[in-house]
Symmetry: C3
């Protein structure tokens, strides 16, 4: 039995959107300390690891740990009805999750019931990689970079070298090279232990970055030809993603 309340229903929507960008179903692990979810995307080339502490909720009562498998697409649809000044209440009730929007302005209540499902594949461990380079970049600047690259290719290469972060993309229509030196407007921090380079699927990167709040920071952790780690915060929640590199030639 659990019951939790969030003061801004739209905040929970933002959290779920950051998960549903990669996976359409998943299992929330509800513990006393907070909620976590780990899931691979269906293609298996990326994973998401989500965690939110109990302090993000205005009410958080968990009698005993629970695992709640949900169709996240449907959850996201329901959360998209959240309006301004609505609180969100979630509790379990048999084989359904009760979701209730409570307007702080009026006495109306909107109640949804969402079936709890068995999620086929779940609970992956995060890969353990000794990253060589870490780049902290503004979310909006990173979105622009991905958009630039997307004009020419479906892949993007990230490279770090001494004190610069470079991206490259190449296609029939032309080639793009972009160089960011440390401490420019877009790049907030560069920690390069060893120059690294790897190439990634642009569509996955765009989906992963899509839910990062505007004007926030995104951390990229790189190791040559190894999976990329992307992480950012949505309020108190932490979103970490791993994306396998594209092996060309």
């Amino acid at each position: 039995m659990f019951e939790m309340k969030i003061d801004d229903a739209r905040y929970w929507k933002n959290c779920v959107d950051a998960i549903v960008s990669l996976v359409d179903e998943g299992t929330f692990n509800i513990a006393k300390e907070g909620i976590t979810l780990k899931a691979m995307d269906p293609s298996g080339i990326s994973m998401v690891s989500f965690s939110i502490p109990n302090k993000a909720f205005s009410k958080y009562e968990v009698e005993k740990p629970a695992q709640i498998g949900l169709n996240l697409d449907n959850l996201s649809k329901i959360l998209s009805t959240a309006r301004q000044n609505e609180q969100l209440l979630m509790k379990d009730a048999g084989n359904k999750l009760h979701i209730e929007f409570i307007s702080t302005d009026s006495k109306n209540r909107r109640r949804y019931k969402l079936p709890i499902i068995d999620v086929r594949k779940d609970a992956e461990k995060e890969p353990n990689i000794g990253f060589e380079s870490k780049v902290e970049v503004k979310s909006d600047a990173l979105r622009e970079i991905l958009k630039d690259a997307n004009l020419l290719s479906t892949y993007i290469s990230f490279k770090t070298d001494k004190e610069s972060f470079m991206i490259a993309a190449k296609g029939d229509a032309g080639e793009l090279e972009e160089e960011h030196n440390g401490n420019t407007e877009a790049i907030k921090k560069l920690e390069i232990t060893k120059p690294s380079s790897a190439t990634f699927n642009l569509e996955y990167l765009e989906r992963i970055i899509g839910a990062a709040p505007a004007e926030s920071s995104v951390h990229l952790s790189l190791k040559t030809e190894e999976p990329l780690k992307i992480d950012y915060k949505v309020g108190d929640a932490v979103l970490a993603y791993f994306l396998a590199p594209y092996m060309s030639e």
Copy 2:
């Protein structure tokens, strides 16, 4: 022979849009007191009854009553060219309807001729139903309610009971229940003679409500398992719709 003028061409566009949302052709009955139109939608599950008094026009001259059948889709397209500060002049000329936009700013005139057609089926009588419940709801709130339900189903159930108005929708993705007690922000008035409930096609409801002006009132009249009456005003014009209930199981 008739000739009529409206000071804001876009007002007439709003009236026609409220009709064309359900039917793509219809016959305007032009009488000395005003203009009316009654039509069934092609599927036969809904009808619209439109009436506008002569006082809504700045000029209204009708020598003898006339019946003008029109392709309302084409009329709506032409009216969509209405710009700010344009008056509208309509008159008959043989087998065509003349529509003229007159700019109050300049001396330009834009003249359209629209063929007058024979409308196949027409002139329905409004059903006579002894309604048990009447709900006055804000147009924008009703649109939100329909949108919420649309996430889960193609049908919506309306229920009234003592002093509350409830809606419900159910689909594979989950269930929705929403309860509005009288005199909340969304519900402006509730008159319940007898608790009633019926289920309706959401797409038709959305089309019917779509043309209701923002921040206006929509009246819903309900009787268990009987057609729903929806009516609202667009300026001086009155739009009344009847929608057959969905009979499940």
Copy 3:
């Protein structure tokens, strides 16, 4: 060898958009005085003649005249990445065109390389027509006129007569006639040597007019049943288009 710089990268984008609306590849003739491009659209019913003087560039160095064939669609895509406060640098490098966006705010540089291609068909001469009527019309008003006509037909007729400019369009849904007398808000100048009339393809006209800057003037030069000349300026650049008339009946 050439190298040129434009202070507002988005200005060059606007120029290229006015060409790419008709043709998807073309050859820029780069001379000491400036750059020109002439091209037929693939269907052969229209042509564009573009010219921009060297004074439009903040840096303009041309060692010897060059001809640079480009896929204009790809060029336009790359230019669409131009952001506020970015300068544009273009230079040749072997069989590629280097395009570099230089942010005036930061030290970031975004470099694209675009292949130089052989353009199949090119370098047309402009037709020599003794026009009978010239109409100067506001770009936004002309766009509205085309939109009005587009509701009824895929063709539009232009007519001039003494001191008025008329347009007409006709289709199954109805007829449109619009009359503009000289010196109205939309028409800035009328020079009628001889009344003229001709009919043109609306889609081509919309594409041609689409890139005309808002609140600017467009010149239409007409001769009965002869190609229409449309010309307007984008800053210092001149765009002239010729569009063959539609011969009905």
